[in-house]
Each structure stands twice: as structure tokens, then as C-alpha cells.
Amino acid sequence: MPELTAGQSINKALELILETYENSFIAGEDIGIYGGAFGVTEGLLQKFGEERIKDTPIAEDVIAGLAVGASMTNSLPIVEMQFSDFIVNAMDPIVNQAAKLHFMYGGAVNVPIVIRGASGGGTGAAAQHSQSLESWFCHVPGLKVVTPSNPQNAYDLLLHSFVDQNPVILMEHKLVYKQKSNVTLNPIPDIPDLIGKAKIVKEGKDITVVSYSNMVNVVLEALNSDELTGIEAEVVDLQTISPLDIETILKSVSKTKKLLVVQEAPSHSSVGTTVITRVVGSEVFTQLDSSPKILSGLHSPMPSAKHLESAVIPQTDDVVEFIKNMV
């Protein structure tokens, strides 16, 4: 069981896919000799050649569009959006094409593509290279959206996303790439049963903290704070943010009677507001003994300066603060 960063475990998953499925290929900007802006595709060009590791021009629209066309014709494309912010240039193929073709054509076609993008802030990359845009894709019927938080689920969720017959958007947080831990290199699954499943990463009885992507790590770190000794928080890592695993969330909240959602993205029209709406719209509403809260990034573009950036992104102190106030 090797110790790997998430960047490396994703690389291993990609390698396994390419070895196993001859009709799979990867396309994206600087994924070849450069190995990807975050090193995720390092070594794959050398192993699989230019035919299957396709370095593209800087042209996100055709990168996503070719994935759609290829997937309709017995290829299995995995494409990379170097920074997920650039996915703004690929919205038509993703939203008007990939998401809708299966439904629009009456079920006659599937669009089994995986679109990976590096998301999130905290690296000083400023407003156009730090966004967490995953909520947009959750709002689009026909897409699935997956957000790993550590090396193990980054590996597993990529394999499952690949096997899933729907277009899957994988938002990989830049800070998650750097997370390091032992990874079990599971085989490619027959059924993508991890997609749509949340995970209880820490059990507790006093409050349910629902989070996803890198914020799961921030939450877990916050729980080590002395200020929270005695408080047993249950932490739910959504893993898939569309479709939501509402059962797991409801089960936890009906036990703890308290709900806090922590996300890096701003609150308005986001995953977090959806979690809260689903919970208060359920029978669990009557069991809540305090007002459910969301701790989100500020409604502001990402500033470049470190001290301002950390004011926009929820920090461990903020999590501690919220939990203290709620329990």
C-alpha cells in the first residue's frame, strides 16, 4: 500500500484506465511532456504515446466537444481542464450537449465522459484561477459532479466516474493534490457504486458537519482544536455532490439534531444551500434543535494577497467558531 499524494493516486488511476481500456484516451492542455500543470499526468505520454495522451492547443471548447463526439462513437475520453476556471470556455459542450444528449435523443445515446478540473483557492492564484464552480454543474440535469478530498477517494472516485455511463465532472482541489496518505490501489469496478455515496469520515453525536472537497480536511483539522474538546462532531464527506446522498445526511442529522455545512464556494445557489434545503424539507425538520448553518467562502472574487485570500476562504478557526456557537 504505497504512500501517495492525491496527484499521484489520480495518476495511478489514469494509468490503470489506459492500460485496461484500449479505447480510452486523455486530452488536455500541457498533459504530455509537461505532465500537466499539477503533474497529474506525469509519465503517461512516455507510457502510452501521443495517440492516447493528446496534448491540445489552448482551446477548451473543442477539448470538451471532442470528448462528447468521441464518447458517442465508442471511445472513452477523459479530458482535463487545466484550472477549472477555464471550463467557462467549454460550457456549451458540457451543458448543452453532454448533459442533454442522452435525454434529448430519447435514451438512444450515452455520453460516458470524465472531465477533470483543478479547482479552489489557497494558492495565491487570484480571482481567475481559484474558483470553486462545482455548484453550477450540480444545477444541470444530466451531469454528475464528484469532488474528492484525499488520495484514496481521489483514486477510487476517478475509477468509478470513468465507469459511470454519464458525463461526470470531477473537481479536484489544488490543495487536495498535495494531501499525502497510504492508498489501496483498487481494481476498476464493474459498477460505479461509489458515485452518489457520501461517507461518514468521523462519527459523532453532537452535530453533523457536512462538507466536501478540501474543506473536509479543514473541518477535520478544526475538530482537533482544544476549544472543541468534549464535542463529538459527525463529519460527512459528500464525495458526490450531484446526485446528493440525502439518505446518509438525513440519517446523521436525525441522530445529532444539528447541521452545519462547510464549503469553500460562496453560498448563493450552491451545494450547501441544497443540503440544508433538502434536510429542512424532510421529516428531519422537526427533529432539528437548532438553526442549520452554512459556513461558506465569502461572496467575493478571490484576492491575490495571502492575508486577504485567507479571509475569503473558510479557515479552521472559522469552523471552530461555528461549531462552538451551535453546540
Binding site: 479505447n23 484516451f25 495517440e51 492516447r52 493528446k54 491540445t56 492547443p57 482551446a59 471548447d61 473543442v62 470538451a64 466537444g65 471532442l66 470528448a67 462528447v68 463526439g69 468521441a70 464518447s71 458517442m72 462513437t73 465508442n74 471511445s75 475520453p77 456549451d92 459542450p93 448543452n96 450537449q97 444528449l101 442522452h102 435525454f103 434529448m104 435523443y105 430519447g106 435514451g107 438512444a108 445515446v109 450515452n110 455520453v111 460516458p112 440535469p141 444530466g142 454528475k144 455511463q165 454519464n166
Partner: protein
């Protein structure tokens, strides 16, 4: 390469089928049987017909919002198309797609597309599959003159040229977008010249001469497979009807429209040619009657067929 008589009669019948199919739609629309709008290709039948009949079934096409002709010419069943526009279960998309979104995978039609330029990058991806799978087939990508100005056009042509993909870009230049004349919308010499600028061999042809379209597509398909490089055709044509049902035709003169109807109609012109070559009025009548009755029976069957049931549409959204 000369066209056989048999092929010529096929070309004529297909143009007639498209014309009568869309005239039947117009009639249904005026009777209030259709929900939503539609984009008719009446006047442009030669391009769809000549292009698709030059292909094999295994060759693929991507189509546009004005795609009825492409779909029929690639082999679709008019009954299933009428059924689709009427929201019936037998429709190609079970009533979920409608006029703008008919796909017919069984005949190699990857689907119409409501987004201008939306099919260009898809065709590139399909061509990449052919390349990776070492297939001797091409993807023919239909798009209009208006799509030439979308960013997706640029990205698709650039990549197809760089990667030497087996795709034939076919621009149906009917000289207008919705209301904008293409010469006001496309900078530079011509649309064919724009194709050339990507290092893609390109040609401008008479899109209302069905035989010219047929021959050019056949030749270009061969060149694509031999040279392993893409090709580009600008087929000049004209639409008689408004852009969609809400069009008042303020942006062009009736003289212009009539000129194309009288002097340049693809069906008329081809009939003239066939008759010069000896086709008799009786033979012609017989051919056309077959088409007429096919349309009649298809419409009736579609109108009699059951509506698409209200299934769980959220489940239908995912594979």
C-alpha cells in the same frame, strides 16, 4: 466519375421526399398540430441529398437546427420523424427532442443540434474515434454560414487540421443567418477561403446542383481517406421560407426569393436535366407518386400513434 441513372433517380426521389416532408410539416403546423417552432430547409434539398447519398451508412453526419433534410437523406424513416415532431412514443427521441434534436444513430446520424456551431466540435471528436479505431469512414459535419463566426468553428477546424482528422466540413451557405447576410457576418474573402486558412483544402460549389454536391462529396471523401487530412466544402444555396415560423422576411426582397425559386430551384433544375437525359413524364410521375404516398401514409400513421407516456423524466435524464 459519372453518376449512374439509378443514383440520379435516387437523388431526385430524396429531394422530393425532403420537400414534401417539410411541406407536410407546414400544413400540420398551420393546423396547430405542432408545439414549438421549426426550421425548414425548403430550397436547400440538393445539399443534404447530394452529400448524404455520397456517403456510406457507416459514415457519420452531425446536423443542425435545420436538419430534417440531413436526417431523411441519411436514411431516416419519415414516420418516426413525424412521430417525433408530434411527441409520440415512436418518435426518434420519444418526443423529448422534437424538430431541432432528431438523432438516428442506426443510420449514422449523430443528431441535429439547436446550438449554432454546437456540432462542429462533436464532429471532430467522432472523427478522432475513427482515427483511433483505424476505420475507413469519415464524419460529415453540416453547419450554416452563421456558424462560421462562432469560436467553436475556429477551435474545431484548427484541431481537425492539426490532428489530420477524417472530417468533411460542409457549410450550407444559404446566405443568411437568421436575418444577417453572411457577407456582413464573415470577414475575409469567402467561407471557403476561411477553410483554406487552416490549411484545409476547401472549395465553393453550387449547393443547388445535386449532382455537383454528390460528386464533390464523393471525391473529397476519397481524398480524406487517402491523404488522411480533412476537407471543407462551402455549398451555396438558399432557403425559401423564413428562418423559423416567426420570421417576417424583412431582411430580404421578395424579388430575391422569387429569383431563387424560379431560376435556381434544385428540384426543378434536376428534373430538367433528367428529362434532357430521357426521363419521361410518366416515369417521373411514378417516382413522385411513390414519395407522395410514403409521406401520406407516414403522416397518418404518426397521427394515429400513441403519445409518449409520462415516464419518470428525472430518471430518463441519466443513463
Amino acid at each position: 466519375m459519372s453518376t449512374t441513372t439509378e443514383t440520379k433517380l435516387e437523388l431526385h426521389k430524396m429531394m422530393m421526399l425532403i420537400r414534401l416532408f417539410e411541406e407536410a410539416l407546414e400544413e400540420m403546423f398551420s393546423r396547430g398540430l405542432l408545439h414549438g417552432t421549426m426550421h425548414l430547409s425548403i430550397g436547400q434539398e440538393a445539399t443534404a441529398t447530394g452529400a448524404c447519398l455520397a456517403l456510406e451508412k457507416e459514415d457519420l453526419i452531425t446536423s443542425t437546427h435545420r436538419g430534417h433534410g440531413h436526417c431523411l437523406a441519411k436514411g431516416a424513416d419519415p414516420y418516426k420523424m413525424f412521430a417525433e415532431l408530434l411527441g409520440r412514443e415512436d418518435g426518434y427521441c420519444r418526443g423529448r427532442g422534437g424538430s431541432m434534436h432528431i438523432a438516428d444513430l442506426s443510420n449514422g446520424n449523430l443528431g441535429a443540434n439547436g446550438i449554432v456551431g454546437g456540432s462542429l466540435t462533436i464532429s471532430v471528436g467522432a472523427a478522432l474515434s475513427f482515427q483511433l479505431q483505424k476505420k475507413d469512414n469519415i464524419v460529415l459535419c453540416f453547419f450554416g454560414d452563421g456558424a462560421v463566426n462562432e469560436g467553436s468553428f475556429h477551435e474545431a477546424l484548427n484541431l481537425a487540421s492539426l490532428w489530420k482528422l477524417p472530417v468533411l466540413f460542409l457549410c450550407e451557405n444559404n446566405q443568411y443567418g437568421m436575418s444577417m447576410a453572411s457577407n456582413k457576418a464573415v470577414a475575409g474573402e469567402s467561407i471557403a477561403a476561411r477553410g483554406n486558412s487552416y490549411g484545409i483544402k476547401s472549395i465553393q460549389i453550387d449547393g443547388n446542383d445535386v449532382e455537383e454536391v454528390y460528386k464533390t462529396v464523393k471525391q473529397y471523401k476519397n481524398e480524406i481517406l487517402e491523404t488522411k487530412t480533412p476537407r471543407f466544402i462551402e455549398a451555396v444555396t438558399y432557403r425559401y421560407r423564413g428562418h423559423s415560423k416567426s420570421d417576417r422576411n424583412l431582411y430580404r426582397t421578395s424579388d430575391e426569393i422569387n429569383y431563387w425559386k424560379e431560376e435556381k430551384d434544385p428540384i426543378k433544375r434536376f428534373i430538367g436535366k433528367l428529362q434532357e437525359e430521357g426521363l419521361t413524364a410518366e416515369e417521373l410521375k411514378k417516382l413522385d407518386e411513390e414519395v407522395v404516398s410514403l409521406i401520406r401514409t407516414s403522416v397518418k400513421k404518426a397521427l394515429d400513434s400513441p403519445l409518449s407516456p409520462k415516464t419518470n423524466l428525472e430518471e430518463d435524464s441519466y443513463a
